[in-house]
Symmetry: C2
Subunit: 463 residues, 2 copies
């Protein structure tokens, strides 16, 4: 004992800071372990769900399905054809939402899509239609689709069609418009609508011809390369976009489309480092959809935000959404914009984090901290934290900087509640006033309540 007290003391503390602070005042070196007890009221639910004998095999099966799904881009089609989206119906990001609860950017995007479809002569008319409920609103996720930010899809917009070639299952996503003043960030001025019209008239058809001539493009393989090239596939899609251009352009050149249109398409895609996001997202959804509806499974299969609420869906509880008010991201702002301009978290793009990309793969994309804020150490910590709350590591998505460790995949509701660690989401930030567009990019976490609500439902289902 006397020998012990002579040596330099090294303390490890967990939980209350009181002990750590007291020791530090006595000049001891303290290592604080990040730990907190599960939130009050969750202990019983946790015990029941952890005791459910179906849980472990169900989770193993779910993880296996996610890891083995391969997504191929097989076609590019108008949403009317691909999704059976009829006139007067619009899709949006996140859990179900009524117009009266919609945030500024969501309203802006819905107004823009109503104008694009020619359903109203101007913004006032479009607002009136939407307010009266004359336009049907439905989440993208309910139609096998995902949409970044407001995620609004109207019948005339073209969508990527991704397929799991083994099962024939499909997912969809619109074509990316670029950054700044764009519909998905809530802008709906004439230039925004003109760009969307060009995308339907030229971009979609040229891509369709190229994809059909080329044959299915392995999007999972491109994702695999991306994490070796500094992309995390949510807010950095540079390498992915470049690989898509390389893959599709030769076929586009040989198509019947005029050289001028092909060159315009090449410049449009090449000028938008985020273009591949709209392929990464449906690829993630395709993998996660494979893990849906497994009784007893505690894996999150969707995280999505509609600009008002953050919602998750869990494999063992079917299509039910667990929702809570969305938080406002923290990050870096464009130009004169600041935190007071920011809308709460919005978009289906958190499907990337749900599948082990985005914030979960930030260790593969240290350069992203220049876009979303924080330090390289924070980027590493974001990925390392995810390993604590996930079920598997993705063998095909390996992070060189972590000695080729696979990305953390399969967020487990029980682990999130037990550890208090929330997944970090890389996200764009929309201006809170309809019509503004993008104001920044940053990081956000889901509200913790969605996980305890899901745990409660899983406990009830466990009986």
């Amino acid at each position: 004992m006397s020998d012990l007290m002579r040596r330099e003391l090294q303390l490890i503390t967990a939980g209350l800071d009181l002990f750590a602070e007291s020791a530090e005042r006595q000049a001891a070196r303290v290592v604080r372990v990040a730990w907190e007890p599960p939130p009050p009221g969750t202990a019983g639910d946790l015990a029941r769900v952890l005791a459910d004998p179906r849980r472990e095999p169900a989770n193993a099966r779910a993880a296996q399905r996610v890891l083995t799904t391969r997504a191929h881009l097989v076609d590019v089609l108008p949403a009317a054809d691909a999704l059976g989206l009829g006139p007067g119906r619009l899709l949006h990001a996140g859990p179900p939402l009524a117009w009266e609860h919609a945030s500024g950017p969501m309203r802006g995007a819905l107004i823009g899509a109503t104008l694009l479809e020619g359903l109203a002569p101007d913004a006032t008319g479009a607002s009136a239609l939407l307010e009266r409920g004359d336009i049907d609103l439905e989440p993208c996720h309910h139609r096998g689709a995902v949409g970044p930010m407001a995620g609004v899809v109207s019948p005339s917009m073209w969508v990527f069609v991704l397929e799991d070639l083994e099962s024939g299952r499909r997912t969809h996503c619109t074509l990316n418009e670029g950054l700044g003043r764009v519909l998905r960030y809530g802008a709906f001025s004439d230039d925004v609508l003109d760009r969307l019209r060009w995308m339907s008239a030229v971009l979609g058809p040229v891509l369709q011809a190229a994809v059909r001539a080329h044959g299915p493009i392995d999007i999972t393989a491109i994702l695999s390369q991306m994490v070796q090239m500094g992309d995390e596939a949510h807010n950095r899609n540079r390498a992915g976009t470049l690989m898509l251009v390389r893959e599709l352009l030769p076929s586009a050149v040989e198509s019947a489309h005029p050289a001028r249109d092909v060159a315009d398409v090449a410049r449009f895609i090449g000028g938008n480092d985020h273009f591949f996001l709209n392929l990464a997202m449906p690829a993630c959804k395709l993998a996660l959809d494979a893990a849906r509806d497994i009784p007893g499974c505690t894996m999150v299969v969707a995280m999505a935000r509609n600009g008002t609420e953050f919602g998750i869906q869990v494999s063992g509880t079917g299509d039910r959404w667990f929702t809570a008010p969305a938080k406002v991201p923290e990050g870096l702002y464009l130009g004169e914009y600041g935190p007071s301009d920011a809308n709460p978290d919005i978009g289906d793009s958190a499907i990337t984090e749900t599948a082990g990309l985005g914030g979960a793969a930030m260790a593969a994309a240290p350069a992203i901290v220049r876009f979303v804020g924080g330090t390289v150490t924070d980027a590493l910590a974001s990925t390392l934290g995810c390993y604590e709350i996930t079920l598997a590591e993705h063998g095909s998505l390996s992070i060189p900087a972590l000695d080729f460790r696979g990305t953390p995949v399969g967020i487990d509701v029980t682990r999130v509640v037990r550890t208090g660690i929330l997944p970090k989401i890389n996200t764009g930030i929309a201006g809170r006033i309809a019509g503004t567009g993008q104001v920044g990019a940053g990081l956000v976490t889901p509200p913790a309540e969605v996980f305890s609500s899901a745990l409660r439902a899983l406990a009830t289902a466990a009986g």
Copy 2:
């Protein structure tokens, strides 16, 4: 003292291992500092060069010139036009070399180029011409060019033309043929020559039209992006190649060339992740040439290998080469090949390491260890070691994983000799028998003697 002996001992040792080993046998924790005394006979030279009052301002000026040079791709031309390369004359990599000392891959490439130019009917005839000295051989570096591996340039081959737009200085490099059985690795079969003919007939002219329509392309800016995307620009040029495709293809599509040729060019470049190497190399040479011929300057301005000897040129000693026998790289081998098939180190591509890329920037490209061998920790160590022997950090080439620290630039002869740290070079490995082609990729260091020879010359010049 009695208290000291009670505490756990932590020893730091430098130099002889004897002390470290003895303490380790007594269960002490030893941190060994990598250090060795300067090689015998260099102390006097070091003292004279370090005392040279011109050294510090000369080195500062040299580093500044390297850091501020911007390389633009301004044209694509036949070597005959761009380099004034007359018939019967061939350029090769590395320091000057006579046929009788040429290694297998160098002989293979020279034979292939002689056949390509129609100077002999077959390999035997070509060998005879070369043996008789009927073909003039000259280093690429002596004509403002660099060439990867054998680096053979013949008049009909097309070259990239890079320019420093401020000074009008230019450098050049051939177009990259791809991997495997290619001329620069010493292969000269009919398929190799057919590919080279297509490159002169189609690839060169299409690229020329695209570059001329596009206007100067900022290669330094692409290099800057590459180190954010996992490329070190010597053995990994994936992102760079993709960015070049994005930049040039729209103009190629709009050119007068047939769509079929443009599509072939897009597929050829897109199918070769190393294509950009031949732009990275002359960009590095352009920056380093700006630092040549500064009296008293101890900075290395070229490292190059001809397959027999490794040579360096130093700013303060003009065009003089300091040479020693080239080492054989250690690395990973393709298919059935092994170390006994490897030729000694070959190529001008070590110009990338000379300019702070390649092995000096491996920390930016951890995924490369899957291609050249070693671990991610080795990759970090390669870059960190370079900071010990270089004069500056490149502000435009920042490494995200090192918290955006600039790459180490400007190898200082005095620091290399003082520390014994040699730059690590990422390199392809050529088969040692003429006609084989590539057998692997790995890492190699220069022979230490080239630095002590250069130091001796600098000491003599210091007076």
